[in-house]
Amino acid sequence: MNPNNYLVLAAILFTIGALGVLVRRNAIIVFMSVEMMLNAANLAFVAAARSTGTLDGQVAAFFVMVVAAAEVVVGLAIIVTIFRTRRSASIDEASLLKY
């Protein structure tokens, strides 16, 4: 299969994720969109590794996964805490930290 197709898929997934981050208000959905962007990047890494025949891209994908796992732990904890105090998961309402 043409490796370009994987890259196109990765670009489409990344765009969907980015749009999700920009347009959605629900913190959980935004979080999922971020995960989608990370996985789009992983897909591009793995596809590139496969097409060049080296392991570098795969190693990078592993690192991204580890970081994403850690980020999920911290991010979900923050979202839960915000929900507990405000009874809302809307990220637009959590806008106190500003000028």
């Binding site: 980015a18 981050v21 920009l22 347009v23 208000r25 935004v30 990220i91 637009d92 959590a94 806008s95 106190l96 930290l97 500003k98 000028y99």
Partner: protein
């Protein structure tokens, strides 16, 4: 022994200044003791010096290397020779008398201890000035006497005029000091050393232009310290200080430091006729200018100050005549130190009896009320106008004689100066001691206490016989000859003609003064409608007006322009820049709106931009 001369008064000053109020009760006696013991050390050294013959009389003492950098070596050493010796005796002798006088004069002053501390400091600094063996150490003493002069002129700090006078003296002296520092630097560049010995040895081989410049720079220094034209304006204001200070610092010793400097640097001046001509010219101008100012002053101390300027003009003129004049410059310096100190102390005694009034128009007929002051002032008067056999006659006549040997116009200037001196001194004498009493209400003139009259009597004896003693017993010419040399210029006019002519001029001046102020009643208020000349003399020959127009006003405009430039241009640029950055960031702050999604958009925009740029660069 030489170090003790300086050390004793320095110790006195330190004790009184550091001891504080604990020394109030006995501080003035301690200061007198320190000054007197310094005088006795001076006498002891003098007797030792008398025991040696001409060439061996110089003695130097090297203490340590003060500055040693590369090829620049300045020793810290004292040097005593015949020239320093006469200064040591004058400074400590007259200084001690004035210390004693001050006990009575400053009796009721709450700051008497501070006054005596400064007097001791002055004596120490002045001794360092005349005992230093190089020009840089001389500079230290030079600045030291300047400091003491400043502190003592502005001693009555509560009077704004005294504070201003002190500052004026200090600032005008700085102008002269620039000359001395330039001279020292030029000496180092030219000779590689600043010791008296090294400079004298190197001068004949040095480039004539360098020698001339050094001479002119030294002359500038002498002008500042000795109140010579054009730096004369500070001396009249310096009379704001207590009268003993005027007598010691601004008549007998410090203001003559310029004469010492020129005489000490005779090796330089002997080689440069340009520098000598400049010295003679300055001396001639100042001797006439000072005498001119003295004729119109109603303030007794300012009249004497004008006279001091004039007499120092004589000394500077004599010093500028070269080997023919050095000896007589120093001779006149010594006799002047005696009679002018006596005159100032007399003026102080009169002021003491007249409730510190200095206006001679309020005096009159004091000869009966203050007999001792009258007698001592009278002897000083006879000495300064040059009546034989009083001391001023011997020294001034020699200067006039030598001046005629140099140049007929210089000689005529000195002769005219002698006549004007006789006029203003007679005026002062007549207004103070003769005529009818014009005392203000509540003033009861009385004779001063013995602590004041005793020094006056001693100085009066010095005024009367000092000249005779120095001339015939002391043989001042032979005494100073090994140091400054002696030269006889071809005297155009012989003394047998000159002495009667001089006496005639003096008689005319004195007679005119007596006719104007002695025979006619003196108005209590100074007349308003007077000639332009009188007005000019009352305004110190417009010296202050000139300084203000030429230096002060342009200086003020310059500082104002600089302040304007600083506040508008420099502060404006910096302030405008910070205001711009502040305003921009106040607006930029609004970007931080707290919405995570807008931050994400910014990040995305940045990432896209970077990707775009990377693609663009690769293509």
């Amino acid at each position: 022994m030489t170090a003790a001369l300086i050390g004793l008064p320095l110790f006195g000053a330190a004790t009184l200044l550091l001891g504080g109020r604990r020394t109030n009760a006995w501080g003035h006696f301690f200061a007198v003791a320190m000054s007197a013991s310094s005088f006795f050390v001076g006498i002891f050294l003098f007797i030792q010096m008398l025991g040696r013959s001409g060439e061996e009389r110089e003695a130097g003492q090297h203490f340590f290397d003060w500055i040693s950098v590369g090829t620049f070596h300045v020793p810290f050493g004292l040097h005593i020779d015949q020239l320093s010796m006469v200064f040591v005796l004058l400074i400590t002798g007259v200084g001690t008398l004035i210390h004693i006088y001050s006990i009575g004069y400053m009796e009721h002053d709450p700051n008497r201890r501070r006054f005596f501390a400064y007097l001791n400091l002055f004596v120490a600094a002045m001794l360092l000035l005349v005992l230093a063996d190089n020009y840089l150490l001389l500079y230290v003493g030079w600045e030291g006497v300047g400091l003491a002069s400043y502190l003592l002129i502005s001693f009555y700090q509560h009077k704004p005029s005294a504070a201003a006078a002190g500052k004026k003296a200090f600032i005008v002296n700085r102008v002269g000091d620039v000359g001395l520092s330039i001279a020292v630097m030029l000496m180092f560049v030219t000779f590689g050393t600043v010791t008296f010995e090294g400079v004298a040895a190197g001068a004949p081989e040095a480039a004539p232009s360098h020698v001339t410049w050094i001479g002119l720079a030294l002359l500038l220094a002498a002008c500042g310290k000795s109140a010579q034209f054009p730096l004369q304006s500070w001396l009249l204001d310096a009379m704001e200080g207590p009268t003993p200070v005027s007598a010691l610092i601004h008549a007998a010793t410090m203001v003559t430091a310029g004469v010492y400097l020129i005489t000490r640097a005779h090796a330089i001046f002997d080689l440069s006729s340009t520098a000598r001509t400049a010295v003679v010219t300055i001396g001639a101008i100042t001797l006439l200018l000072g005498a001119f100012i003295g004729t119109a002053k109603d303030d007794i101390k300012k009249g004497l100050a004008g006279s001091t300027m004039s007499q120092i003009g004589y000394m500077i003129l004599a010093a500028g005549l070269g080997p023919a004049g050095y000896v007589f410059a120093i001779f006149h310096l010594l006799t002047h130190g005696l009679f002018k100190a006596g005159l100032f102390l007399g003026a102080g005694s009169v002021m003491h009896g007249m409730n510190d009034d200095v206006n001679m128009r309020h005096y009159g007929a004091l000869r009966t009320a203050m007999k001792i002051t009258y007698a001592t002032f009278g002897l000083g008067y006879l000495a300064i106008i040059g009546v034989p056999p009083f001391s001023g006659f011997w020294s001034k006549d020699e200067i006039i004689h030598a001046a005629f040997g140099q140049n007929i116009y210089i000689g005529l200037a000195t002769l005219l100066g002698a006549g004007v001196t006789a006029f203003y001194m007679t005026r002062m004498m007549a207004m103070t001691f003769f005529g009818e009493a014009r005392w203000e209400k509540g003033v009861h003139p009385h004779e001063s206490p013995a602590t004041m009259t005793a020094p006056m009597l001693i100085l009066a004896l010095g005024s009367a016989f000092g000249g005779l003693l120095l001339m015939f017993v002391g043989d001042i010419e032979g005494w100073l000859e090994p140091i400054v040399g002696i030269g006889h210029s071809d005297h155009a006019v012989s003394n047998t003609i000159l002495i009667p002519v001089t006496l005639l001029v003096v008689l005319v001046g004195a007679g005119y003064g007596w006719m104007t102020y002695g025979r006619r009643p003196v108005p209590v208020v100074a007349p308003e409608h007077v000639s332009l000349l009188t007005r000019a003399a009352r305004a110190d020959a417009y010296g202050d007006a000139l300084n203000e127009a030429v230096f002060m006003r342009p200086g003020q405009y310059l500082t104002r322009a600089l302040v304007w430039f600083d506040s508008k241009a420099i502060d404006g640029t910096i302030g405008g820049l910070s205001a711009a950055i502040g305003g921009l960031s106040a607006r930029g702050r609004k970007l931080q709106n707290g919405y995570a999604r807008s931050y994400a958009l910014t990040m995305l925009g940045g990432a896209v931009l970077i990707a775009f740029v990377l693609l663009l660069v690769r293509l």
